[in-house]
Symmetry: C2
Subunit: 498 residues, 2 copies
């Protein structure tokens, strides 16, 4: 069967008080879905940027005066959203390194009537007493959300969207230019002088690049730049985002099995029959696409409090952070074998020029031509140790034997092998830390996964395997933006009213 397709909208309008993903767009930019907050009112503007080793992630808020239902119906045609320009770098939207257009609708900028209402790019604070029609998530009345987000405010705007963009850190100027144009456009649309606009804008910067590029941001944009600790932002972002209905998802055992074993329909397989933990959201399997796969992805539609948990943030490298029930956290581990490693290896070993191309290669590959399996060494299972003949004993272990001739191996097989190697390894180290700290929930964040089924399956299976089914791998639709979201969120308390 073909890999399951995850919903990949360009903008998602989500009523955090309802439980509905209101609109879905084209599948191009699965990571850059907007989030709609109908009641979020905050008078101070800020843009958040998280500059990592390879990618710079931007989060910014645009207001929408329309109610969620209208926005949902119209989807991309809502005139109220600021249309962001296409990638400033001359590359197509498939290119991994280019910006993803978070809220592009018609392909051209359209000044919004609503933007005339106020000059600011204004996030709005949630008003707890507003009860929007929706699925009524009781969790959202829970004190936790209120404590994180709510600020009483004089001004009430009907809502807006969080938008997401990505840039290559190597082309940081593109990121700066983009933010520059955002500020510029906002000033134009609202007929305020740029100097006044700048006084109202604050850049929340996190990630390593917040330090490296502090001067660049400050001097070029001429706005206040506030540096925020990366780990703090990651955790804030995680705490926040996991409350959004249908943000968190995971693969069921059946889905893991069918993706891992596309050629078999047999259910007696290598994976242990795990006991499903009680955190599964519901029993229904989603069928998000017109051509439904055999099994869909399971979304946490009614998010419950998610702490304590382990966060495994997979970027260029990997950070592993334990988060206690009260929200305190500690970076307990990590590994240098991350997204950057896979990216780097495959860029030399295959013709792929983007990470998405590499993932596409891996989908078509057969790792057994390059990996040494248990069966290759033993001729059979090593049953005494519970090692099945199909398990990988040595990643890339067959390559040297064939005399090191690169042409002997297809880029597809190489890609699959190394994707498995990196993912399995991360899963194993993640599991060991979850076990050490007695945590059952393991969230995977970072730009590495990008909803790729084989990666998700591999991580899910690794956690299942090592934990004998007692722990669960959980994934996030906005996985790459945790830090940026956290930076954005963290300063709602700190903002002043205009």
């Amino acid at each position: 069967m073909s890999p399951p397709s995850l919903p990949s909208p360009k903008v998602i309008h989500v009523d955090t008080r309802g439980a509905v993903i209101l609109s879905e767009e084209s599948p191009e930019t699965r990571d850059s879905r907007g989030i709609y907050f109908p009641n979020h009112i905050e008078p101070v503007s800020h843009i958040a940027v998280d500059v990592g080793g390879s990618l710079a992630k931007v989060v910014y808020f645009t207001r929408s005066p329309e109610s969620p239902s209208i926005a949902a119906t119209h989807g991309s045609s809502s005139p109220s959203d600021i249309s962001t320009p296409r990638s400033l770098s001359p590359s197509n939207s498939q290119h991994n390194g280019s910006q993803h257009n978070g809220s592009q609708h018609n392909g051209s900028p359209t000044p919004s009537s609503s933007m005339k209402r106020s000059g600011a790019l204004t996030p709005l604070v949630l008003e707890p007493h507003h009860s929007h029609a929706g699925n009524g998530i009781s969790a959202l009345d829970d004190g936790f959300l209120r404590d994180s987000l709510i600020r009483r405010s004089i001004q009430h705007f009907p809502g807006g969207s969080l938008n997401f963009e990505r840039f290559e850190t190597d082309n940081i100027q593109d990121c700066v230019d983009f933010i520059q144009s955002l500020i510029q456009r906002s000033a134009e649309v609202n007929n305020v002088p740029i100097a006044e606009m700048r006084r109202g804008v604050k850049i929340m910067a996190t990630g390593g690049g917040a330090h490296r590029f502090y001067e660049l941001f400050k001097d070029t944009l001429q706005v206040e730049v506030q540096r925020e600790d990366e780990m703090e932002c990651l955790i804030e972002g995680l705490k926040f985002i996991t409350l959004i209905p249908d943000e968190v998802y995971y693969f069921s055992d059946e889905l893991i099995h069918s993706v891992s074993n596309p050629n078999t329909s047999c259910h007696t397989c290598a994976s242990p029959k795990p006991t499903l933990p009680s955190i599964s959201a519901d029993g229904a399997l989603e069928r998000p696409s017109p051509d439904p796969p055999k099994f869909g992805v399971t979304f946490e539609s009614n998010p419950t409090p998610q702490l304590p948990c382990l966060l495994v943030n997979i970027g260029s490298g990997v950070s592993i952070i334990k988060v206690d029930e009260d929200g305190t956290f500690e970076r307990v581990s990590g590994t240098s074998l991350g997204g950057g490693t896979l990216w780097g290896l495959l860029s030399l070993l295959t013709p792929a020029t983007s990470f998405d191309e590499m993932l596409a290669f891996s989908d078509k590959g057969d790792n057994a031509t390059v990996d040494m399996l248990v069966g290759d060494i033993y001729g059979q299972d090593y049953s005494r140790l519970g090692l099945k003949s199909t398990m990988i004993a040595s990643s890339f272990g067959k390559v040297f034997r064939k005399g090191g001739n690169k042409k002997s191996f297809s880029p597809e097989d190489i890609s699959r092998s190394l994707l498995y190697a990196v993912s399995n390894n991360i899963g194993q180290i993640a599991y060991m830390n979850a076990e050490k700290y007695n945590l059952d929930r393991i969230y995977f964040g970072g730009c590495f996964i990008r909803g790729h089924a084989a990666t998700i399956t591999t991580l899910s299976y690794a956690i299942r395997f090592w934990s004998k089914g007692t722990k669960r791998a959980l994934f996030l639709r906005h996985e790459g933006f945790l830090g940026a979201i956290g930076a954005w969120i963290r300063n709602i308390d700190a903002t002043e009213e205009h």
Copy 2:
């Protein structure tokens, strides 16, 4: 400073009751040192072979009538040892894949007068009441060794040597032919018909290939082939070999530091100042070579009981086995990122055609050109998390940025980066398992390490780092032969007297 040189003899004659390494030969075949047992008497002959994913390791015994002191003086010129033929495969002695000649002395086979004494390739059993002049190791009177090894026997032969050979599993026929010629030669030298010789020889076969190649061995050699469980043999081999004086070694903190930081003499460095555990053998730093390096390797000259411990066997893949105080063991973990992975990757990414060439490349490389360091991301230390700017954040993380042009990167830098990546990863996973099972001693076995200083340093440092100095990485001179030695040892009890 140049990397420390480990003693790399061709044959070591070791009196297990003394504490002296009696002779050292050329540095060519560091792995294949013979071990001399003056009192080992056993009437039944057997040869042991451990066939792994990539390499087949052979252990066999040859007798020497001379006393240890004479053998020590003469070293290679001892006529009593059976000279084994040079590699049967047409390759030089540097080639990783070829056989290493465990007991070659003069380069040509010399029938031994002592071999006429008895027809058998006979290992000898240790007689506890023999007290040879030597360093008097009290540990060897310890019941543990007796329980493992001692068998009363009518026949007393003055001694002999354990010899070691390696072959590529892909060329298993070479291994079979070698054993064939061993048996043949023994028959000729002792004037016994081959059929009679064969009746007295038993092949102890372990590793995955014991199953795969059982028929091949049995039918070609026409001797009894007994299959032994790989894990059992590994552990038996470990328990045995760690009792041999100067078999176990480790790098001191100073040595780790100086190898890791060849350009600095400063002692305030990234590595934490660990507390040395009480298992360090002695304070003296060995100076084994005529040109002593700044710091030498520390050998456990007076081995104490080594259990409980963790054994990390690094072959094509990695097995992690915990061994309890009473010798019972369990394979608790492993990783598919092993020697085969590094070997395979470097065979495609560099011009190297052997593993030793790859290691040589790595010695000259600078990983900072291909690895993304903490400093590259943050522009400085990430001190809040204790991450120094020189630490590796993403292995190979710089490669993609440079557009994936292979020519941008030297094979030396690539080799060093990937050696670090694989070794650091193994060290981390090993540490986590040692911590989980509360074990302070971590032995590294398998053919991956082969006394390579950078590898040993990386593994040692990883253990030090993660354990904050409470655990120690220990290495074995006969690291690759644990399984074969264990197979050989295991059947001393089972042998019958001739």
